[in-house]
């Protein structure tokens, strides 16, 4: 019990004093996950909008694939990316394994199907409603998609944040391709796993508290944005 209390006090001190190790880990986590989420949105938003509004051969297959990938176990994805990036793998020449780049790649692949599938769902609902009006106004395909993306921005923001939450909380896939190397690829989740196994509960707890606060802030931002817009 005393041990527990001690860990908490120490964890608080680490956070309050902005401990250098702690900051380094938090900042890498944020850079990797924000980067991966932005990349996933860059592709996932238009892709989801196209899936929702356009008919083309292979659309059915693409929809089924994104929906399936959404439920893919992250460790399996980690393993596949590991094989791809390992020295003998097809992308081995990039020498990306055990770098932040590899972690961004794996998180991007994890978030992309989430953003795409949620975007498709959100846009499809509005599209049914807007379809005739847009046809009446003779909108081009590009204008249609841009208008729908803007008009559903609230829902899409939630989709992006769901993606970010998935990225920043990922452990297994990130450890496989990042290696949890100190000062290089150690992020919050992998550090928590390591420190807990070493018995350094204070650092693990401090990181846990920060992870939770990030989730809190992000959700508060989304909620207040929603209130202002609708």
């Amino acid at each position: 019990m005393q041990d527990f209390q001690h860990s908490f006090t120490y964890a608080f001190r680490l956070v309050v004093q902005a401990d250098a190790t702690l900051l380094e880990i938090v900042s890498l986590s944020l850079r990797v996950s924000v980067g991966a989420t932005l990349l996933a949105c860059l592709i996932g938003l238009p892709l989801g909008a196209i899936l929702a509004t356009r008919d083309f051969p292979g659309k059915w297959l693409l929809t089924v694939i994104t929906n399936t990938l959404m439920g893919m176990p992250p460790v399996v994805l980690g393993l596949l990316v590991y094989m791809l990036l390992s020295r003998a793998g097809p992308l081995g020449w990039l020498e990306m394994l055990y770098t932040p780049g590899a972690m961004i790649l794996v998180q991007f692949l994890l978030v992309l199907p989430i953003v795409t599938a949620l975007t498709r769902q959100i846009i499809e609902d509005s599209w049914q409603e807007y379809k005739e009006q847009f046809r009446s106004l003779c909108l081009s395909n590009t204008t249609t998609i841009l208008t729908l993306l803007w008009d559903t921005r609230n829902g899409l923001l939630t989709a992006a944040l769901a993606g970010f939450a998935r990225a920043i909380s990922e452990v297994g896939a990130v450890i496989i391709v990042g290696g949890n190397i100190n000062h290089l690829t150690r992020v919050m989740t992998t550090a928590i796993a390591l420190e807990t196994s070493k018995g350094d509960l204070a650092l693990a707890l401090a990181l846990g508290m920060i992870l939770l606060s990030i989730a809190l802030v992000v959700n508060a931002l989304v909620y207040s944005a929603r209130l202002r817009v609708t």
């Binding site: 409603e129 005739e132 009006q133 046809r135 009446s136 106004l137 204008t143 008009d151 817009v229």
Partner: protein, 266 residues
């Protein structure tokens, strides 16, 4: 009021466009043998008609007669299996023809933006962006005070007025309306009707689907009566409301005629 619905500056020297002239450049509208079926059911059956007046045409008929389908076919957003729709000889499939018309739907589909932004959107789309023009349209719709409000938080009547203002933003030569006053109270209805009259005075051709016989009598110059996917008759409003040519038209208005003649003779 010196506000122009068509975006042309109103000058006192030039007389307003004569609404009785027979061509806006898109008239006459010619519909030839249009057949439309969905899932094997014939819904529009060999429809042929010509509209060459530049006034207000009412499209009437029972629920399910095919009015909403027909007005969409006229607008070119629904393509029939066979037959032609031509505006002044040009097929409605031609995007240039379609861009010269606007349609107002029964349930207004407004963008999730402010009232003003909804107008700005359409103005920008047609490369007509102008703050003056936007304010003018808002004033016509009686929504100047609500310019910054979210469009979807407007009342039903206000939403419909915004939808009409937005439809006018493209400077259409033809305005198609599918039951624009369904679900509106009498006051909201009369505001919409005065918008319709104003537009018509600016030489915009209006085709209006309505169930409201009193409304048709107030605004329409001619009536097309649809019965079960067929054109039962196309008469002047006076004829339709006094001695309808078709049995279907007669039975549709007979109840109304009785009550109306009792209260106020036609």
């Amino acid at each position: 009021m010196n506000i122009s619905l068509t975006g042309q500056p109103v000058s006192r020297k030039t007389p307003a466009r004569d609404p009785s002239r027979t061509s806006t450049g898109l008239l006459p509208l010619t519909v030839r043998s249009v057949n439309l079926s969905i899932d094997g059911t014939a819904l529009l059956k060999d429809i042929s008609l010509t509209i060459d007046n530049n006034k207000i045409t009412a499209l009437m008929g029972h629920n399910g007669a095919g009015k909403s389908l027909l007005i969409r076919v006229l607008h070119g957003i629904l393509t029939p299996q066979s037959g032609q729709v031509e505006w002044n000889g040009q097929p409605v499939e031609d995007i240039k023809v379609r861009k010269r018309q606007s349609m107002v739907f029964q349930k207004p589909v407004l963008l999730r933006r402010s009232v003003a932004a909804n107008i700005d959107y359409v103005l920008a789309l047609r490369k007509l962006s102008s703050k003056t023009r936007r304010d003018e349209l808002l004033q016509i719709a009686g929504l100047s005070e609500k310019a910054k409000q979210q469009a979807r938080s407007l009342s039903g009547g206000e939403q419909q007025r915004l939808a009409i203002a937005r439809a006018l933003a493209t400077n259409p030569e033809v305005l198609l309306m599918d039951e624009p006053t369904a679900n509106l109270d009498p006051q909201a209805t009369s505001r919409i009707e005065s918008l319709i009259h104003q537009a018509s005075e600016q030489a915009i051709k209006i085709i209006l689907v309505t169930h409201d016989l009193a409304q048709a009598q107030r605004v329409a110059d001619d009536v097309i009566f649809l019965d079960n996917g067929n054109v039962a008759e196309h008469s002047s409003a006076t004829t339709f409301f006094t001695q309808p040519a078709s049995a279907a038209g007669h039975s549709y208005i007979s109840g109304y005629l009785q009550t109306a003649t009792e209260k106020r003779p036609l």
